[in-house]
Symmetry: C2
Subunit: 209 residues, 2 copies
């Protein structure tokens, strides 16, 4: 099902190259065959190396999955950080763009690959710290934009850290790997309506007594 | 694992009583043994009746599950409708109480019963219309309270139907059977902070250009 790479590995491959090839192959297996059915032997065979060589780089399938997930997460984090730090754009516009990116990324990554959620579920149950770290870092990016908007008078959020957690939790339906695939689209507000609603909350700030 | 009911069925049991006993027993099985492992034969045996007699009332295990889920849903809906219609209470206070009820109900029902989610997942995949109907009716109750608050000047929500969908979607982390059990508590905003945030959105209403 997963073809061998077309070219044999170069003679003078570095450790980092090998690591990278293992992860790329593992990710294809996890996406196409599923985390549960993939074995370290499958990955090694496709790469024309011994399982022992794969184990030189990764202790276990769990360790490979953590590295694959960390790589995906790293890409997502880099993308939203770049949006957050874009100069001369209103905080509201940056926040909107980050939320739309997170949604599109989740939809693109998880729908159409029905086995992809296995690796995420494995990470959530076996490697919770990797996931929690990711959620914390996304929330930190949201917080940075909200704090910037508050400093410039765009938002009235009193505590940007709490507001960021609220926004991130409120959009879980649009970004969570399982919910994105499971919940029918027609049944939640359109993402635009949700974003407009959340922006209202950020502009409103705490109740004026 | 599931003991037989202590008393034998009364001699002159009505159809409605029998239906009710089947559902009560099925619910205990689904909660304690899990939907997947429960058979109609188990339920019949515990009730000291033949499987054929159970089938007189319900076509299939799926039909039993739909009726069990519908009963749970009916209770939840009745409770929140009662809160929504309580006279002389501000819309914000009623909305807060409904959200707190939905969260506590989900936590109480699903945590501590690790197999309980099987029946919900079965309902979500096999009987989606039952679930969708439930979500629609909860959203309708939220909408009624929001519209009332808007009419009385408490909220500025322009479209209470859209606002209700946004509120319901925003609290999915606190009410969804799977997320309530799966996500660690310390990692989302406290429910109070989330409610305060959403109330800000409802008071703010659409952007003033």
């Amino acid at each position: 099902m997963i073809p061998a790479l077309s070219a044999p590995p170069p003679a003078e491959e570095t450790s980092s190259d090998t690591r990278c090839r293992i992860l790329a192959t593992a990710e294809r297996f996890f996406r196409e065959i599923g985390y549960q059915k993939t074995t370290v032997a499958d990955i090694a065979k496709t790469l024309r190396m011994s399982p022992a060589n794969v184990y030189r780089f990764f202790d276990s399938k769990k360790a490979i999955n953590e590295a694959v997930v960390a790589r995906i997460i790293g890409e997502v984090e880099a993308r939203i950080a770049a949006i957050a730090d874009r100069p001369g754009i209103a905080a509201e516009a940056r926040l909107r763009e980050i939320i739309v990116f997170l949604h599109r990324d989740a939809v693109g990554r998880f729908t159409g690959h029905p086995r992809m959620h296995e690796m995420i579920e494995a990470a959530m149950s076996e490697s919770w710290n990797v996931c929690r770290h990711h959620v914390d870092r996304i929330t930190a990016v949201l917080e940075r934009v909200i704090a910037d908007g508050a400093a410039k008078g765009e938002f009235a959020a009193e505590d940007p850290a709490v507001a960021a957690r609220c926004v991130h939790t409120a959009i879980v339906r649009f970004c969570h790997p399982v919910l994105v695939v499971q919940c029918p689209e027609d049944f939640v507000p359109a993402l635009d309506a949700m974003i407009a609603f959340l922006m209202g909350a950020l502009r409103a700030g705490p109740r004026v007594a």
